[in-house]
Symmetry: none
């Protein structure tokens, strides 16, 4: 079902088909509940071939994580134009992030849910991507502080905590946006920028963060 069952195709292609099937299955069923049988069938190949190419269930799962992690990181990177002010960079990164997770729900499920719930080998793998994200956000915060001409005297751990919080909020909103019909990536990003940049206190005073150009993205107030 799905791929046309043509024999003899180059290894690289076959491998991608397998990974596609695996990401989908792992993302929907979870690591343990996904069976190699199901993955092989979905990929349109025999089980031994899966083992020949990807060695074991563990390795296959790891390969899925890596591929999806790379894709997500790449998407976010591609979305951010360097040289812009810090808040704009953040805004662009978030938009790209929400757009990608919305378009690849199974991959996001693998990264965000499945990989973290199954022991060290996988959690570590995913921690790396996350560290990347946190690093990006940390950098943005530091740059922002510099732009504000304040000595970057925010304690390091404090910054780490803030970055964590922002990334966590983003991850959480990704699930929320995917589950709430009609919420676009831009809207999710706007909500989060409002929250993270202006803060609830400012919001209450009627001073939201101003989103760039497309004014429709966030309610005026």
């Amino acid at each position: 079902m799905g791929a046309v069952k043509s024999k003899r195709m180059p290894r690289a292609v076959r491998e991608q088909q397998m990974l596609d099937a695996a990401v989908r299955t792992f993302g929907q069923r979870g690591y343990r509940a996904a069976s190699m049988d199901e993955i092989a069938e979905l990929a349109g190949v025999s089980k031994p071939l899966v083992y020949l190419y990807l060695n074991s269930k563990e390795d296959l799962f790891t390969a899925c994580i890596r591929r999806e992690a790379k894709a997500l990181t790449a998407a976010v990177r591609a979305g951010v134009r360097p040289g812009l002010p810090a808040d704009r960079q953040l805004w662009e990164g978030l938009t790209a992030f929400f757009a990608h997770t919305a378009q690849h729900p199974d991959g996001w499920s693998v990264l965000h849910l499945q990989a973290r719930t199954h022991g060290e080998p996988f959690a570590a793998e995913v921690a790396e991507v996350r560290a990347d994200m946190v690093a990006f956000v940390t950098e943005v915060i530091v740059v922002a502080a510099r732009e504000a001409r304040r000595d970057p005297s925010l304690p390091e751990r404090e910054v780490a905590g803030l970055a964590e919080a922002l990334v966590g909020a983003a991850e959480s909103l990704a699930a929320w946006a995917n589950a709430t019909p009609g919420v676009t990536a831009r809207q999710a990003a706007a909500t989060l920028m409002n929250f993270a940049w202006a803060g609830l206190g400012e919001l209450m005073e009627g001073r939201p963060w101003a989103p760039p150009s497309e004014v429709e993205a966030v309610p005026a107030r």
Copy 2:
């Protein structure tokens, strides 16, 4: 291991022992990877007794979720003194939340990671607690808006998104705080209040949210 292996104890007691063992095992291994054998052994009873009292693996897992959910909700509720200004209430709730999750890592793992990764029966169960939390935060936001004498005309979906983001950030920080040695519940809560209340923008300007003084900050109990 631990408790003296005394035979013949009343059902209620045994049931708690089993739930303890189950939460620990599920929290560390995940739902599928946890085996009833392991749980029974950890509880110091035979497998049939587990089935006699808790029916099935599914029911056992559900019972774990319910117990931990109730405990967490109760802890947060007990930590919040009503009547205080909105930001104080939020602060107290967060502190209680971080304190509880730090003290019950396995329970938190069950609620935050495991329950959400395994199909509808469980995800729904946990969604309820989360809805509770989001409702609490939403209420705080609405009250805060009223206190700021602004008409509470923030669009509903916007508020929902903000609450989601805050709760998500909190969940994320809980993991971070647990994993980073030396971060206390109060520090985690302070970081999050800074982030959520003042916002990164204000922070950059050197206007953080002011945490209450240590002495009066924590409820008498």
Copy 3:
């Protein structure tokens, strides 16, 4: 459910309650599928009491077989008036047999189906009752031969085979009569007498066996 749950009753009574429950359960579920739990509950007693009184599942089943066998034999015996001509005795025996099996379907299931399908201990038990029936029929045949003033020169094995056939037909008709609504014990007995006494050949020639008194019992022809 069923018996009023009054404590402290004489052993004999309790035992009968247990056997009632057991016959019903074994008859409907089969030996292996019936669980001691279910039987105890249906009998309104605790499981250890069942064991105290009846030792084991095997013994309980054996007790059921014996009780039902005795009841069936007694019913048939009570139905036959000695001194009558052979065919009348057979007729009466069959009527009693069909009446009893119709009134005690679970007991009949235990004897006819369940006991024979589960290894030697039980099959032997039931073989005894059957031998009784076969002996009764054999005697009737021998008497009939004597009445017909023929030397009883039918070979013994032949007689044994005939008796077997008759009993087998009766058993089979019992199931048929129970399953076919509107077939009474007398009708079943009449059908069988017709078949067994007159034979298909004679029947075809329009010479059925004549049932006693109640002419309605079998169609005239």
Copy 4:
């Protein structure tokens, strides 16, 4: 045991081996008491293979019933030469029936004992074969009535009862013949023809049904 334990054989062959083992085990132990472990071992394969090919214990049992039912029906059909007088057809059918059941005691046990004792799915399956047999006998009776130049006005239910009785007697005699050493299929058939065709009454008068001479009695094959 028996077959050389050669690995790697085509699926169809293995399936027959499994069915052989299953029929034997089910026939001797009963459905519930038979364990998949035992069947697999007797078949000389591992348990998973049994499941791979036959899905479940229930399906396996059903497959056994179907195979044995088909074999029995085929044997009886092959034994009856159409065009002969009714009593001859009956005689041939019975001979074939007794011969087959004697040669396949386990299969017969599955059909006659085990399948009927365990719930609807199986009982229904076996009821079909039996209906076939009853239909065959019914047809014979109707044909016999026509041959005797009597209007075939025997009431339908009466005929049904007679056919039931005859089939029941045959089933019963099959067990008897198998259990009594030295009783051949022909002898069993002769006894039953005597009983069913001539009837006890005629027999008493010294007018048995005449079995055909040995030579022509059995179909050429």
